[in-house]
């Protein structure tokens, strides 16, 4: 098991926004989380990645307990999240956006440019190669030299995914990746995510687009008012009456 969330709880005042939630994501798993608005899904992400500190419960990743580790530490450990509204460096090219996300450029300051030009050039080539690989994988190579601000919404989502990949993440938490994206691009995105899962990258995905999500993930969790109310194979979960009541408002899907 790559990611194990155990008994995570977060309360604001008397209100339990996340209430004793446990789930796990295997190393090549595709796991989805759904629920009505305000169910605590995004907060769960923040607890998992360390942007918020949990009141109780543990987070472990690859056997390592990360509960006490800060967000940057968890990112470095290989767990990265994206945001609902994609953000990119508008004036840098797509390739440069990817290169900027690559870690390991720590230690290269201005002095290094003058004293170790060879090492810097070599490192640049390596990072550029990885970026080009990622671009090809995401089918974004056509816009490699375009300023990222000019991309369409869907392309920006792919870029967001690409930046997460460049960090070398092995578990990516996607927050509504299909929101506002046209169906063709949803197919594209899903295909890429599946490919990555085949390569051993795990995904935990929050989504509202049930059709797209159920076709992608192998496990589905449902949250309502902070609690997990159902978990299992997507079709089975969606058929449960509790889920229909909570999420679908009782009406037929």
């Amino acid at each position: 098991m790559t990611l194990v969330l155990s008994g995570l709880t977060k309360a604001y005042g008397g209100l339990r926004v996340v209430d004793n939630v446990s789930l796990s994501v295997p190393s090549d798993g595709l796991v989805g989380v759904i629920g009505p608005n305000g169910a605590g899904k995004s907060t769960l992400f923040s607890l998992a990645t360390g942007f918020l500190a949990a009141d109780s419960g543990t987070v472990s990743f690859d056997g390592r307990d990360l509960t006490a580790v800060a967000a940057t530490g968890r990112a470095r450990a290989g767990m990265v999240r994206t945001f609902q509204v994609p953000r990119e460096f508008t004036h840098l090219t797509v390739r440069e956006n990817l290169m900027a996300a690559a870690p390991g450029q720590a230690g290269e300051g201005l002095l290094a440019v003058f004293f170790r030009p060879g090492a810097i050039a070599a490192e640049e080539r390596a990072i550029a190669a990885r970026a080009d690989e990622t671009l090809a994988f995401l089918r974004l190579d056509a816009v490699a030299a375009t300023p990222a601000g000019r991309l369409s919404g869907g392309q920006k989502k792919l870029l967001e995914l690409g930046r997460a990949l460049m960090t070398g993440a092995r578990l990516i938490l996607l927050d509504e990746p299909f929101a506002g994206v046209n169906p063709v691009l949803i197919e594209e995105l899903s295909a890429r995510i599946r490919d990555l899962a085949d390569r051993g990258v795990g995904f935990l995905i929050i989504e509202h687009d049930l059709r797209a999500l159920t076709r992608l993930v192998s496990t589905l969790h449902v949250m309502d008012r902070g609690r997990l109310i159902a978990s299992g194979a997507p079709a089975a979960v969606l058929a449960e009456p509790a889920v229909r009541d909570a999420y679908l408002g009782g009406a037929a899907a």
Binding site: T72, F89, L92, Q105, G109
Partner: protein, 288 residues
């Protein structure tokens, strides 16, 4: 016609020097997000340091290197002692602080070197005649130095990791931080770079004219004008604007006269901004 061409060349040379100063201004404005009024005095520091270095080593190149290091050091020290503490405050606070920093540098130089002028003792040569136009070899050397500095800056900005990080911070500081770009290291690199560029501009200005404690401060307004005209935060724009203003100023003198040529460059600035408020190369910045 040859007269006009010679004026244009003179304007090009002055414009390159002002353009370098504008580059230093625009780098800081783009990445640290405020107008650095200490740029002029960093120029002056660079000129004095180059003078001292040349006297000590006997070589202008070595002296220039020392000047650049002095400018870079001044930039980093100013950042560490003053501007870092003001990062969370408004840009006006930083601007006022930069005026103070400039004043300290200027006063220090006056104390150490006195207020009389100093000059670079360079051999004087007659101009070359190319198709009847007089071209000063020293001018060509100055232009070459300016262009080399520009090339170095662009190389750093576009072909190195730290340069890319600087541009990322200029683009979106929050996203840069979240992406794992260490702000401290980027800022130190920025201030060193801007300080070094200002030092080169000051050294070139000193070679063209004289070195005195007020020389850089007096050039601040044209440098800012060129930075704004080029589009604040846009390095290429700053240099192009500097050259444009220089040429416009000098070539207009047969009609406008020498006293009003300065007014002319500000008139050009005004006109361009009326038609295109973001400057020649500037981008429309959204406010997040």
């Amino acid at each position: 016609m040859t007269d006009l061409l010679e004026l244009a060349i003179a304007g090009l040379m002055s414009g390159l020097v002002i353009g370098l100063a504008a580059l230093a201004v625009t780098l800081v404005f783009g990445i640290a997000r405020f107008a650095n009024a200490a740029t002029g005095d960093t120029m002056t520091l660079g000129a004095y340091a180059t003078l001292g270095g040349t006297a000590a080593t006997g070589s202008l190149i070595a002296g220039g290197a020392i000047g650049i290091l002095a400018g870079a050091a001044a930039g980093v020290i100013a950042y560490a002692t003053v501007f870092r503490k003001l990062e969370r405050r408004s840009p006006v606070a930083a601007l006022l602080a930069s005026i103070g920093v400039g004043f300290v540098i200027r006063a220090g130089l006056g104390l150490v070197y006195g207020h009389g002028q100093q000059v670079f003792q360079l051999p004087l040569v007659r101009p070359w005649r190319v198709w009847g136009i007089r071209i000063q070899p020293t001018d060509l050397e100055i232009a070459a130095a300016a262009l080399a500095t520009l090339a170095a800056v662009f190389l750093i900005l576009h072909a190195t990791p730290i340069g890319r990080q600087m541009r990322a911070v200029a683009d979106d500081p929050d996203l840069a931080r979240v992406s794992g770009i260490a702000p401290r290291r980027v800022m130190i690199a920025l201030w060193a770079l801007a300080g070094g560029v200002a030092a080169v501009a000051g050294c070139l200005l000193g070679i063209k004219t004289v070195v005195a404690p007020e020389m850089g401060w007096d050039m601040l307004l044209p440098a800012f004008a060129a930075a704004i005209l080029g589009g604040i935060g846009h390095p290429v724009g700053a240099v192009v604007a500097g050259v444009l203003l220089g040429i416009a100023q000098e070539t207009a003198t047969p009609w406008v006269g020498f006293t009003y040529k300065i007014a002319l460059s500000f008139a050009v600035l005004l006109l361009v901004l009326l038609v295109r408020p973001r400057g020649l190369f500037g981008r429309i910045e959204g406010v997040r």
